[in-house]
Symmetry: C2
Subunit: 497 residues, 2 copies
């Protein structure tokens, strides 16, 4: 059976979102009359993803009342399981965890969610420039694609980027000694000046696409460096390889039962009555000492508010008083990347018997990166391919059938004809999600960090900003989202003191 | 008397906006009950600036009914007069018109609004690099700042940009033969590679700041080229000098009585009952064959809709069905520039007697560009200085008093101590305007035109996009706004056919 999960299916039905039905919608879509007296709580949290639920639990732990308003009819934000049947799941959103993501790892332990290694046995495949070669991911340098000129040049470039990143203060990238120079150019410009072989350029393109789901031309070099700087322990030591690698990197481990278990675990702790689903926030009105948060189901009056949605999504909220100019301008300049996550399900991971890890590095269109995304016991076999950046923008406008055919053609080119006949096919285009507006994360084009960076976490009176895009350490990742939630909760509790 | 016009003053009182009171607010701020039956019209136009009023008049001319919904309590958008007393006005928004802006010039003639030349007699001042020299604007090349190395290099760079621009199709810049290369870099990157003297780099910085009110690092080279290409006759021949020059350029002429007369003239033709002020649009719901437009004063049901607000402003509207992903993504990637327009009023334009035109080219902070903005008869004398791009972002966070002191210090440095004692001082920060969110115009960072450019004018079912940001010829200018209004009206009339 081949099956395309549409946005509607995933959000509106229990079939698509395993476990999400645990929290039923709290109300229908009809707007509540606006004149009803506001309901009261100490803190309102906007968004029931990792950041929002973490913030809410921190507020509760401090003995204060909290309500989480969630636009969707489910919790989880960018985390979403998809049931494969017979108790097996895959994720159609964020899924991995790796070393130094200690907050996420600690929470998983607390919640009793086990991890297991991403399948990484056997050879990787390099399928680019008309070549198709296996290579080992277990050398002393990790996986080195078999491009004799390109790979060493890419590794030198990565070492150089890591050194540059080490000079970027993760709390204030705009204060790096060379911030003006680095925020004045795209990553593409730096790449063209510092990598000259087609192979190295391809590998750097793939790194940018794999981490930000945008193109090297879209993103500021300074943003890339700040992100690298944050990909490690809070004290420093971030590296691009930690962002892109499986072993030793951000793709090293997966969660048994799917990453959504983390967010469902938080929601369960918080309790159903504190989470209001189907409640998109339309308007936030601040008066002396209080904030009215108007959503489709009610108006809540709080003493502090934490907003966790991506900056681009918060641009739809009507703020009274209006946002400070630099915040309003930041929201015009903090776009989300573009990723379509495509997975094909087979009876078994047949590529393993062929000595393949399921990981591909390619210049193909539309899928240039793949993973073996099978459940822990390898039944069923799941191939995961990402369509990212430019390819995601182009292929999003094609039909679902065309897209599926193109993805399966790539899979078959990489893994043989058997890959063209999956028993199920699942895709998720996060750019079409109105309450996320693109994955994996928001990024900044040139010039934005320099002139608007200070507005990223600066509160708007009693409104505090959280979410993966506001994180310093592990910006854009589940770990960073959790850290941002705790930071914003502490700020909010300050308003109640 | 020294006077700072605040946003509140300009929008809320008749004193600030001469003539704007001709159209009283149609309703208070209280939301109307949502369940009232919608009012009906053929076309709803969102925004009563030049584009919106032009579109509405074209609809009326075709024998169809139209309603214009305007968020502010005045018409005019980025056009706004400020009364100096005794019948004299200056503009705190857009004001100039120049050769090849034939649509605007033709409309002004139709409405009986005369033009007069921007004061351009005597010498310009070059105040940079510690030097302060006069130079003539009337040589065969136009104004050539007295930097022996920098000026020729800047002129060569400008000639090169014009040649590159000539290869950019104004309707589809992303189809230029070198589009990928040019949309992969900031203008800053191109500048550093093609201009090597500090003087040339300063002049190119000033050109970008003066035209886009952003920094060279913020904007895509391809966007700059497309904009240059559109600065001329529809058939071609656009040039950067036409964008930045007074004589022969976009600053050549002014409107007697202020540019707002154009927009008030259009509004008068359209008639008060067709324009609903104080009516910010919150929600647009499309069903088969009709569109409901929900604003604070009513719900209007139309068969077609024209939206003229800048893209960044339309990101606040709730769309049902939700915007196509590429349109939603475009709105995350189309920021407005940052300009604060500062004017000091004196009994007379005393610099004229000193042989000065009032135009300065400088590396000062915060004012690097000035004009003589006196009324036609030179009474009173008005100096106009712009704070643009980075300076506008920094100085917007300072107090109004600090800003005024800094501007007057610049004026005194340029024109002598007398400039520090104006009888009035007027400033307008367009970045703080929630219904514009920045001036002069929206621009695109690298990568946006390539991957999202096709969404700029593509209708969302029965919703059509207009406004200066959607123009092809004279994008960002009054002339382009008018052209966009007519184009969108034609599209809307197509929905009624």
């Amino acid at each position: 059976m081949s099956r395309t999960v549409t946005r509607r299916g995933l959000l509106g039905t229990a079939a698509g979102a395993a476990g999400a039905a645990a929290l039923p919608p709290s109300a229908g879509a009809k707007p509540a009359p606006r004149r009803r007296a506001p309901r009261r709580t100490d803190v309102v949290v906007v968004g029931a993803g990792l950041a929002g639920l973490r913030a809410a639990l921190d507020v509760v732990a401090a003995g204060r009342s909290v309500v989480v308003l969630e636009a969707r009819d489910r919790v989880g934000g960018r985390l979403l399981n998809h049931a494969l049947g017979e108790g097996e799941v895959i994720e159609v959103g964020g899924q991995w965890v790796g070393p130094t993501q200690d907050v996420l790892l600690g929470l998983a332990r607390e919640l009793g969610v086990d991890t297991f290694p991403t399948y990484d046995q056997g050879s990787y495949l390099y399928a680019a420039g008309g070549r198709r070669e296996r290579y080992s991911p277990t050398g002393p340098l990790g996986p080195v694609p078999p491009d004799l000129l390109g790979a060493p040049e890419a590794f030198l470039a990565i070492a150089q980027l890591d050194q540059m990143a080490a000079t970027v203060p993760v709390e204030a990238p705009w204060k790096a000694p060379r911030a003006a120079e680095w925020d004045s150019q795209t990553f593409e410009t730096w790449k063209l000046a510092n990598a000259h072989t087609p192979g190295a350029r391809l590998l750097l393109d793939l790194a940018i696409e794999a981490v930000w789901a945008c193109e090297p031309r879209d993103v500021s070099l300074l943003h890339v460096l700040a992100y690298i700087r944050g990909a490690g322990p809070a004290g420093g030591g971030g590296s691009l390889n930690r962002l892109i690698n499986t072993a030793g990197g951000a793709q090293e481990q997966r969660f048994v039962g799917g990453s959504q278990r983390i967010v469902l675990g938080l929601a369960e702790r918080l309790g159903k009555r504190r989470v209001k689903l189907g409640s998109p926030v339309r308007r936030v009105v601040q008066r002396k000492g209080s904030v009215d948060v108007v959503c489709d189901t009610a108006t809540w009056r709080a003493r502090s508010v934490v907003v966790t949605a991506p900056p681009a999504v918060t641009a739809s909220i009507d703020w009274e008083p209006w946002l400070p100019a630099d915040r309003a301008q930041l929201l015009q300049r903090f776009p989300q990347g573009n990723a379509i996550k495509c997975q094909a399900v087979y009876d078994e991971p047949f590529w393993r018997a062929d000595g393949l890890a399921g990981q591909v590095t390619s210049d193909a269109d539309p899928v240039r990166i793949t993973f073996d995304n099978s459940p822990p016991d390898g039944r069923p076999g799941v191939l995961l391919g990402f369509i990212e950046g430019h390819a995601a923008r182009v292929w999003a406008r094609r039909s679902a059938a065309d897209r599926k055919a193109a993805v399966l053609r790539c899979f078959a080119d990489f893994f043989g004809d058997r890959a063209s006949r999956p028993k199920a096919y699942v895709e998720m285009d996060w750019s079409a999600e109105r309450w996320t507006r693109g994955c994996y994360v928001g990024f900044t084009p040139p010039g934005v960090l320099l002139d608007f960076g200070e507005a990223i976490r600066r509160p708007h009176q009693r409104v505090h900003w959280a979410g993966a895009e506001t994180a310093t350490v592990w910006n854009g990742y589940m770990d960073g989202a959790l850290r941002s939630g705790s930071r914003a909760a502490a700020e909010a509790l300050g308003d109640l003191a």
